[in-house]
C-alpha cells in the first residue's frame, strides 16, 4: 500500500509538471496580445510593457524562470488587474468557488445515493422508473440550461430567491442546486447499477438465509459493498464540477475562480489563464489521488493487501 501510494504521488507530480510545461508553450502560441485591447500604444510603449513582463526574453529562458517560480508557488503577475500577483487573485476567488463546489458535491452525492439505493430496492417499479427518469434528465439537461431556467422562474418570475451575486447563504442556493444536478444524476445511476449488481451476489442470499431482516441486509450487506465502487466516480465528478462552475458562476455572477478563468480568457490575460489552469489541474490530480487512497481505506481487500 505504501509503495503504491508513493507511486501514485510521483505520477501526480509528474502529470502536474507536464501540464505546466504544456500550458506554458501553448500560451506562447496564443494569438493576440494582452495589451492589444488597451489604449492604442506606440511600438515603443508596447516594447517597454513587454520588457516589464519579461516577454522579450527568449522562450527557454522564460520557461525556466516560470518553472522555477512555479515550484516556489509563484504564478507571476496579472497583465490586467494592476499587475497583481496571480496567487493573490486565486486566493481572493477561491472561497466562493470552494464553497459552491463542496455544497454541490455534498448535496449531489447525498441525493444521488438516496435516489440510487431506493431505485434499486424498488427495482422495476414506478419508483425505480421515476428515479431513473430524473437521473436521465439530470444527465441530459446541461447545467447552464437548468441554471438559466431556475434563475428565470425562481429568481425573476416568482422572486423567491436572489437572482444573482454571492452575499448570503440564500444567494448560494440556486447556484448550488444548479451545479449539483449532474452530480445527483450520475451518482444515482451508478449507485443503482452497483446495488443491482450486489443484489444478485451469493453473500446477499446467504445474509437472507441467516434470517436477517430487510433493513440489515440492505444496509450492512448491500449498500456498503455497492458504495465502494462509487468512490471511483468522485474523480470525474470533480472535473464535472469544475466545468460546471465556469457557467454557473457566470450565470449567477459568483465572484469565483471559474468566473476569473472565463474572463481572463476573453482578456488574453496569459498569466491568469495559466495560473487558474494549473490550479484546477492540481485540484483534479489531488482528487484522483484522494479517491485512490479512500478506496484503499474502505475496501479491506486493498487495505490489507492479499488477493482480490
Amino acid at each position: 500500500m505504501g509503495r503504491y501510494l508513493a507511486q501514485r504521488l510521483v505520477y501526480g507530480v509528474l502529470t502536474f509538471l507536464l501540464i505546466a510545461s504544456f500550458t506554458f508553450f501553448l500560451m506562447d502560441l496564443l494569438p493576440g496580445s494582452p495589451f492589444q485591447n488597451q489604449e492604442k500604444l506606440s511600438p515603443e510603449q508596447l516594447d517597454i510593457l513587454r520588457d516589464k513582463y519579461n516577454l522579450n526574453d527568449p522562450l527557454p529562458q522564460r520557461y525556466a524562470a516560470y518553472m522555477v517560480n512555479l515550484v516556489q508557488g509563484d504564478l507571476g503577475v496579472s497583465f490586467k488587474y494592476d499587475s497583481r500577483p496571480v496567487t493573490d487573485l486565486i486566493m481572493e476567488r477561491i472561497g466562493p468557488s470552494a464553497q459552491l463546489g463542496v455544497q454541490a458535491l455534498v448535496l449531489g452525492v447525498l441525493l444521488g445515493l438516496v435516489l440510487g439505493v431506493v431505485a434499486a430496492l424498488r427495482h422495476n417499479t414506478a419508483v425505480d422508473y421515476g428515479a431513473m427518469f430524473i437521473s436521465v434528465l439530470g444527465i441530459s439537461v446541461p447545467s447552464f440550461v437548468f441554471a438559466s431556467l431556475l434563475q428565470y422562474y425562481i429568481g425573476v418570475k416568482w422572486g423567491v430567491l436572489p437572482v444573482a451575486f454571492w452575499e448570503s447563504p440564500a444567494h448560494t442556493i440556486l447556484p448550488t442546486v444548479s451545479l449539483s444536478l449532474g452530480v445527483t444524476a450520475s451518482i444515482a445511476r451508478f449507485v443503482r447499477t452497483e446495488m443491482l449488481e450486489v443484489t444478485g451476489q451469493d453473500y446477499v442470499t446467504l445474509a437472507k438465509a441467516k434470517g436477517l431482516d430487510g433493513q440489515s441486509i440492505t444496509w450492512k450487506h448491500m449498500v456498503r459493498n455497492a458504495l465502494i465502487p462509487a468512490i471511483t466516480i468522485l474523480g470525474p465528478m470533480t472535473a464535472a464540477l469544475i466545468t460546471g462552475t465556469f457557467v454557473i458562476e457566470k450565470i449567477f455572477a459568483v465572484p469565483g475562480l471559474g468566473e476569473l478563468f472565463v474572463s481572463s480568457i476573453t482578456q488574453n490575460d496569459y498569466t491568469v489563464i495559466m495560473g487558474t489552469t494549473l490550479f484546477f489541474s492540481a485540484v483534479f490530480i489531488f482528487m484522483i489521488l484522494l479517491v485512490d487512497i479512500l478506496y484503499g481505506v474502505v475496501d479491506p481487500r486493498i487495505r490489507l493487501g492479499g488477493s482480490k
Binding site: 505520477y11 501526480g12 509528474l14 502529470t15 507536464l18 501540464i19 500550458t23 501553448l26 502560441l29 496564443l30 494569438p31 427495482h123 436521465v136 434528465l137 444527465i139 441530459s140 439537461v141 446541461p142 447552464f144 440550461v145 438559466s148 431556467l149 434563475q151 428565470y152 425573476v156 443503482r192 447499477t193 443491482l196 472535473a239 469544475i242 466545468t243 465556469f246 457557467v247 457566470k250 450565470i251 472565463v262 480568457i265 476573453t266 489563464i273 489552469t277 484546477f280 489541474s281 483534479f284 490530480i285 484522483i288
Partner: protein, 343 residues
C-alpha cells in the same frame, strides 16, 4: 415413503400403448426454439425497449428536421430584417399553446406582430436581428449533430486503434501506451479543450479537434479491456491453435466481439460532444457569429431571457430532447447488447 399418488397400479390401459417406440438418438438432440445470432438477438431485445425505440424515432425526426426544416419555413437562417426583430413565436391554430405572438413587456402582454405591423407568422419567432428562429434552430441543430457525430467517430477510430494495438501486442508496448494514456487522463480535459480553442481559429473544425484530443482515451480503455478479456478466452485460443492468422483473429474474432461495446460507447459519446459544443458556445468560445449552433442560440437567448424567454426555451428544449434521446437509446443498446447488464 409411499405417497398418495402412487396407487395407480390397478389402472388398465390399451395394450398398444405399451409397444416400444423405436429409439431415435437425434430426437433428444433437437434444440427447442429457433436460435438467433448476436445481432438478431440484440435487435429483438432493443425492440421491446419502448423508451429506446421512442428515442430513436425522436432522433430521426430531429435529424430530418435539421436537414429539411429551413425549407419548410422557406426562410433563410441568416437574412436579417431589423423591422421584424424579436417577434415571439406564432402558429395559427396553436395560439392556445403559447404560440400566440405575445410577450410581456413590463406588466402587460403585447402582441408584437400587431405593434410591428407584421402580417407573416414566424413559427418559432425571430431573434434580435429579425432572423427566422425556426430556420436558425434547425440549421444550428444540424451543426450540433454534425459536430457530435464527427467528434464521436474520430474518438472511436483513434480509441479503437490505440486500445486495440495496446491490448493486442501487450507487454512493453501496452505498458508504455498505458502510461501515456494515464498521464493524459490526469489532465482535466475541459481545460485542455479551452486552451486549444484559444490558439486555433474558432470554428467547427477547431471544436471537433479540441474535443477529440482527449476524447478518445475512454474509448481506448474500453477497447483495450475488452480485447484483453477476449484474447485469453477459449475460442480465441482455439482459433490460434488451429493456425488462424493475426489478421483473421483481429477481424473475425476480436473486432466483432468488441463491436457492441464500441457502438454503446459511440452512442454515449455523441450527446457528450453535443453538450461540450453547447457549453463552449455558452461561455463564448464556440462558433463565431453568424453561424448558429444550439449552444450559440442558447447563449443569445439567455441574454434576452427576461422579456423573450422563447429565445432560450425553444433551443434548450431541442438540445435537451436530443441529449435525452441519445442517452436513452445508448442505455437501450447497452441492455440489448449485453443482457448480463440488463437492468
Amino acid at each position: 415413503m409411499a405417497e398418495q399418488n402412487s396407487n395407480a397400479k390397478a389402472e388398465q390401459f390399451d395394450s398398444s400403448l405399451f409397444q416400444p417406440v423405436e429409439f431415435n438418438e437425434q430426437a433428444g438432440e433437437r434444440i427447442a426454439g429457433k436460435s438467433l445470432n448476436f445481432w438478431q438477438d440484440a435487435w429483438t431485445r432493443l425492440r421491446k425497449n419502448k423508451a429506446a425505440i421512442l428515442s430513436l424515432v425522436i432522433i430521426v425526426i430531429i435529424a430530418l428536421l435539421s436537414l429539411f426544416g429551413p425549407m419548410l419555413s422557406g426562410r433563410d437562417a441568416y437574412t436579417q430584417t431589423i423591422t421584424q426583430a424579436k417577434l415571439p413565436p406564432k402558429i395559427t391554430g396553436l395560439e392556445w399553446a403559447g404560440f400566440d405572438g405575445m410577450a410581456t413587456l413590463g406588466e402587460k402582454p403585447i402582441d408584437f406582430y400587431e405593434t410591428k405591423q407584421v402580417k407573416d407568422t414566424f413559427w418559432f419567432g425571430t431573434d434580435h436581428l429579425g432572423r427566422d428562429l425556426w430556420s436558425r434552430i434547425w440549421e444550428g441543430t444540424r451543426i450540433s449533430l454534425f459536430i457530435g457525430l464527427v467528434a464521436a467517430i474520430i474518438d472511436v477510430l483513434v480509441g479503437v486503434t490505440y486500445g486495440g494495438i495496446s491490448a493486442y501486442y501487450g507487454g512493453r508496448v501496452d505498458n508504455i501506451m498505458q502510461r501515456i494514456a494515464e498521464i493524459l487522463t490526469g489532465i482535466p480535459n475541459l481545460i485542455l479543450i479551452i486552451l486549444f480553442i484559444l490558439i486555433l481559429e474558432p470554428g467547427i473544425t477547431t471544436i471537433i479537434l479540441a474535443m477529440t484530443i482527449t476524447g478518445w482515451i475512454g474509448m481506448s480503455r474500453l477497447v483495450r479491456g475488452q480485447i484483453l478479456k477476449l484474447k485469453n478466452q477459449e475460442f480465441v485460443l482455439a482459433a490460434r491453435t488451429l493456425g488462424a492468422s493475426s489478421a483473421r483473429l483481429v477481424f473475425k474474432h476480436l473486432i466483432p466481439n468488441t463491436l457492441g461495446t464500441i457502438i454503446i460507447s459511440l452512442m454515449f459519446t455523441i450527446p457528450g460532444a453535443i453538450f461540450f459544443e453547447a457549453f463552449l458556445s455558452f461561455i463564448g468560445l464556440g462558433l463565431a457569429p453568424p453561424q448558429p449552433s444550439l449552444g450559440t442560440l442558447i447563449n443569445e437567448g439567455y441574454k434576452e431571457l427576461k422579456t423573450f424567454p422563447y429565445l432560450l426555451v425553444i433551443p434548450s428544449t431541442i438540445l435537451v430532447l436530443v441529449m435525452i434521446s441519445f442517452n436513452m437509446l445508448a442505455d437501450g443498446l447497452r441492455d440489448a447488447f449485453d443482457p448480463r447488464l440488463r437492468r
